[in-house]
Every structure is written in structure tokens, then in C-alpha cells.
């Protein structure tokens, strides 16, 4: 009974993670502003990957693999938001202004 | 079915040809180096796919597994990856020097400067 519950929960988590990945991908393509696109991409890092890893943790039970996966989630939570932060900082430094629409780079020949 | 039997080789060759085309048709030297790297990685993919055993697993001895994929291509490709990055580093150092001497990294501009009558 418990394994069935764990199985169902892990499947739900993995599917949720996949859904968040798709949401992040659609946001990356469709949002108008560079900074909102960074936000959409970071949804993939902060929701999609940890949900999938949590689902995998439930699948593997109480073994060493679960501990390693837990470390993975911690590492992802530390580094992915930092990467988005560094990206936004670099964009500001490069002169991109917040609040305006940013098209593809080739269209902004300067 | 026969068309899909060798799909790994075909796709690796297509990838290699894309890298090869980048190398020979683009004039920017840095892009040529990147194209060379693409070509290298596709050759690695080809090589590793030769060593795959369809019932096998990772070549690390473990209780309960009997069939393993061939460890020899892995060893060769490990060496090849590190040698490839060493070669890329030397190539990029050459590009930096060319930039300092000629002021440009586009190959046709470099060649034009070389062929000028007053060039050293």
C-alpha cells in the first residue's frame, strides 16, 4: 500500500515537473521582455528539475541514491537562481532597459 | 527497418558534416575552431555508439549484472576529449596572436593583408 502511494506520488511529481518545464519553455518563447524571459527560464530550474528529482527520490526509496539526489536539489537551489541573477546583472550592465520590449538580437542591429 | 538499423552512424555522420561545413565555409577563425570541436564531438558519439551492447550496462562491475558495454571505446574517447581541449586551447591562442598582429580574425582579411605588396 505504501509503495503504491509512493509510486503514485512520484509519478504525479514527475508529471508536474514536466508540465512546469513546458510552461517555462512557452514563457521563454512568448514573453516580450528579456527580464520576464529570464524569470520563465528560471521556473525550469526552480520547479521543473526539483519536482522531477523529488519524484525520483520517491522511486528509489531509502538508499544512498536518495541522499545524492537530495544534495542535487540543494545544489540546484543554490546555483540556478544565482545564474538568473548573474544573467540579469549582465543584461543591465550591457545596457538593456527594463520595461521595454526586447526583440531578437538580430533585429536590433546597432 | 534496415534504414533505422544504422541510425546512430547516420546521425553522427550528419552532425560531423555540419561541423565540417562550419569549418570550411565560414571565414571567422573562432567559428572555425568551434566547428572543429563540433566535428570532434560527433566523432566521439560515433565511436561510443559502436561500443554499446543492447543488453549491457555501464562498464562498472556490479552484483547482478552480467553483460557490460565495451569499456575500450570509453577509454579511447576519454583520452581524445582531453587531447581535443588541449588542441582547442592552442588553436585559440593562435587566434589571439593573429588578432594582435593583423587586427582582425576574418580569414579573408588576414589573407588580403598577407598578399599586399608591402607585407612582411
Amino acid at each position: 500500500m505504501l509503495t503504491l502511494l509512493a509510486d503514485i506520488l512520484s509519478w504525479a511529481l514527475i508529471l508536474t515537473g514536466g508540465a512546469f518545464g513546458i510552461i517555462g519553455g512557452i514563457g521563454l518563447l512568448r514573453l516580450p521582455d528579456f527580464f520576464s524571459r529570464i524569470h520563465a527560464a528560471s521556473i525550469t530550474d526552480s520547479m521543473c528539475a526539483p519536482c522531477i528529482i523529488a519524484g525520483l527520490m520517491l522511486q528509489s526509496g531509502l538508499t544512498l541514491v536518495t541522499v545524492k539526489l537530495a544534495f542535487l536539489i540543494v545544489f540546484l537551489f543554490l546555483t540556478s537562481p544565482t545564474a538568473s541573477h548573474a544573467l540579469a546583472k549582465a543584461a543591465l550592465h550591457g545596457g538593456l532597459e527594463a520595461g521595454k520590449k526586447h526583440g531578437p538580437a538580430e533585429a536590433r542591429e546597432s | 527497418m534496415s534504414l533505422f538499423a544504422h541510425y546512430n552512424y547516420h546521425l553522427a555522420i550528419i552532425l560531423a558534416m555540419i561541423g565540417f561545413y562550419t569549418m570550411i565555409s565560414r571565414s571567422n577563425l573562432v567559428k572555425k575552431v568551434i566547428g572543429l570541436n563540433v566535428f570532434q564531438v560527433s566523432v566521439f558519439i560515433l565511436f561510443i555508439s559502436i561500443g554499446v551492447h543492447e543488453d549491457g550496462t555501464v562498464p562498472i562491475l556490479r552484483e547482478g549484472y552480467h553483460m557490460y558495454s565495451n569499456p575500450l571505446p570509453h577509454v579511447l574517447i576519454l583520452t581524445a576529449i582531453v587531447v581535443g581541449i588541449a588542441m582547442t586551447a592552442v588553436a585559440l591562442a593562435l587566434v589571439v596572436r593573429i588578432r594582435e598582429e593583423y587586427g582582425t580574425v576574418e580569414e579573408d582579411q588576414v589573407q588580403a593583408q598577407d598578399e599586399e605588396p608591402g607585407a612582411t
Partner: protein
């Protein structure tokens, strides 16, 4: 199911390669190259090669992307327009080569075929005898460091020769005249500073783990050296080049590649002095398995030291050269 994953990954990697070909903004090309390496690492994992995936991810997506970016900081940002060029001849060459190669693969064994010569010829010897001769689970490390240690020696020497080549071309510590390294203003980079201070000790510890646990899990000297260098390069990127150069004193860093090759070759000579052949580990201890494992650990240390110090040295040389290129903002390489 495996086939589907393989085909999907290969399709993604083909799209990345085409993007590398078509994009003209070279920073974007560098990022696509990092993604290309990472998908290739994923492909290697699905093809039962985690060692290779490890190395490809660390080297291709890590070091190669960094080197390309540092080079781009000193050269052009955009590729010149390719409008007027004649593409007929390159296309013809590529099509003919590709067609010939694909025609040549018609006789090759099917993907994964258990009866292929790749699985019946030399591999069964290694698979069956690793446990008895050497006693470590990771067969790739066993073949790399014991059965085929000569090839590894040649490769370490090639890496060493590469760093000598880069030093010859760019100079060990040649800063353009009149340029000083300004101390980096860290107050603006609080988040990066804090996270880097938390992550870098973990990265270095992980490098040590990969080095010494490489006999029981995917790992070994190459991956460990690259991870170690990547940790210190992260430190250099966040805190500036000067503090990073003081992590390892420049004289020591310049001598470390040679020290690694010396450790490797010295192990071979030690075996000769003890009465065996060059790189014949059986003379190192009484029990043959222990002797093999001792030899493997020694040469893996040599490999790790050389590869780590070479990657670090090459990055420092490139970054020093980039100082003073961009006098206006100078973010790259400082």
C-alpha cells in the same frame, strides 16, 4: 523507448549544431556550444558511458566555453556577413564526403548488436579479467590506468605539450604595458560573492572525491583535474584575477604540469628500478591486486595534477592577455 530518447537527443544536438553554423553573434555561438556539449554528455549517458559523459560535460561545457568566451573578449563579437561568399564548393565537398561515409556504414554491425566484433574481440578479455587481475569495479579506470597505461602517458604528455605551446604563443605573465589590475568592486556583486563562497569549497572537495573514488564509480584523474580547475576559475571570475592567482603561487602553478608528468613517468621508472618493466605495477607490492591498485592511484594522481594545473594555467594566460583589451568596461577577464 531507448531508441526514442536517442533519436530525440540526436535531433536536439543537430539543431544546436545548425544554430552554431547559422548564428552570427559569437557570444550566442559560444553558449550554443556549451549546450551542444551538454546534450552530447546526455547522449553519452544513455549510451552507457558515464565516465565519458562526465568528462565531456566538464571539459566541453565548462573549460572550452570559458576559453572561447575569453578569446571572444579579445577578438570580434560578431562574425562578418557571409553574403558574398561562394558556398557551392564547400557544400559539394560536404555532400560528397557525407554520402561516401554513409555508404561506408552500410556494412557496419547494427547498433547494439551483441555479436558485433566490438563485443567479441578484445572486450571480453577486459571484462572477465579485471576483477581477477586488478580488483577494482570500474573497468574503464582499470583499462585506462593499468592495461593501457602507455596511451595515458602519451596523452598526459600531449596535454603538457599543449600548455607549453600556449605559453610560447602568449607568454606566461605578459600584461600589456600600462595596465594594472584594479581590485574588483565586490559590493556590487553580493549575491555572487556569497554563493561562490558557499559553492567553491564543495566543488574542490568533489574534485578530490572524483579523483580518489574513480576506481569504484565513474571518475578518475582527468575529470578531477578539470573540476578542480573549474572551481578556481569560478573564484577568478567572481573575485578577480589577482586574488585567484594568489590561491596557488604562480611559480608553483608553472611547475605543476611538469610535476604531474614526472609523477606518472616516475612511477614507470620506479617499476623499472624495482625489477619489473616500465609501468609494470606487479613489483610494487606482494599481493598482485594491491600492487595494481597502488600503481593506478599513483598515476591517476599524476594525471589529475597535470590536467588541473594545465587547465588553470591556460585560463590565467588567456585572462592576463585580455586585461587592457577593453579599457572601457573590462568585465571580461578581470
Amino acid at each position: 523507448m531507448d531508441t526514442l530518447v536517442d533519436i530525440l537527443l540526436l535531433a536536439f544536438i543537430a539543431i544546436c549544431a545548425i544554430a552554431i553554423l547559422r548564428l552570427r553573434d559569437l557570444f550566442a555561438v559560444a553558449m550554443m556550444f556549451g549546450m551542444f556539449s551538454l546534450i552530447a554528455a546526455g547522449l553519452f549517458t544513455t549510451m552507457h558511458a558515464p565516465d565519458v559523459a562526465f568528462t565531456e560535460a566538464a571539459v566541453g561545457a565548462g573549460i572550452a566555453t570559458i576559453l572561447i568566451l575569453v578569446t571572444l573578449g579579445q577578438t570580434a563579437r560578431r562574425e562578418k556577413s557571409q553574403a558574398g561568399r561562394n558556398v557551392l564548393l564547400p557544400l559539394l565537398v560536404v555532400w560528397i564526403t557525407g554520402a561516401t561515409l554513409i555508404y561506408g556504414t552500410a556494412d557496419l554491425p547494427v547498433f547494439g548488436d551483441p555479436q558485433a566484433p566490438a563485443h567479441t574481440h578484445v572486450a571480453p578479455y577486459y571484462i572477465e579479467n579485471t576483477q581477477e587481475h586488478i580488483g577494482i569495479p570500474n573497468m574503464v579506470a582499470a583499462v585506462l590506468a593499468s592495461y593501457r597505461a602507455y596511451d595515458t602517458l602519451g596523452e598526459v604528455v600531449v596535454v603538457f605539450a599543449a600548455v607549453i605551446g600556449v605559453i610560447t604563443l602568449l607568454g606566461l605573465r605578459r600584461r600589456p604595458a600600462g595596465v594594472e589590475s584594479r581590485p574588483r568592486d565586490l559590493e556590487k556583486h553580493q549575491v555572487l560573492k556569497v554563493i561562490a563562497k558557499m559553492i567553491i569549497p564543495v566543488i574542490l572537495l568533489f574534485g578530490l572525491y572524483v579523483q580518489f573514488h574513480g576506481e569504484y564509480s565513474p571518475g578518475g584523474g582527468f575529470q578531477a583535474g578539470v573540476i578542480f580547475a573549474a572551481g578556481i576559475i569560478l573564484y577568478a571570475l567572481v573575485f578577480g584575477l589577482e586574488p585567484a592567482r594568489q590561491v596557488i603561487p604562480p611559480r608553483v602553478l608553472g611547475a605543476l604540469p611538469a610535476l604531474g608528468v614526472l609523477i606518472f613517468g616516475g612511477t614507470g621508472v620506479l617499476n623499472q628500478l624495482l625489477g619489473g618493466n616500465f609501468l609494470d605495477y606487479s613489483v610494487l607490492a606482494g599481493n598482485p591486486q594491491t600492487a595494481q591498485q597502488m600503481g593506478i592511484i599513483m598515476i591517476e594522481v599524476g594525471v589529475g595534477v597535470t590536467v588541473g594545473s594545465v587547465m588553470l594555467l591556460i585560463y590565467f594566460i588567456f585572462a592576463e592577455r585580455a586585461l587592457g583589451r577593453r579599457k572601457d568596461d573590462g568585465e571580461v577577464g578581470r
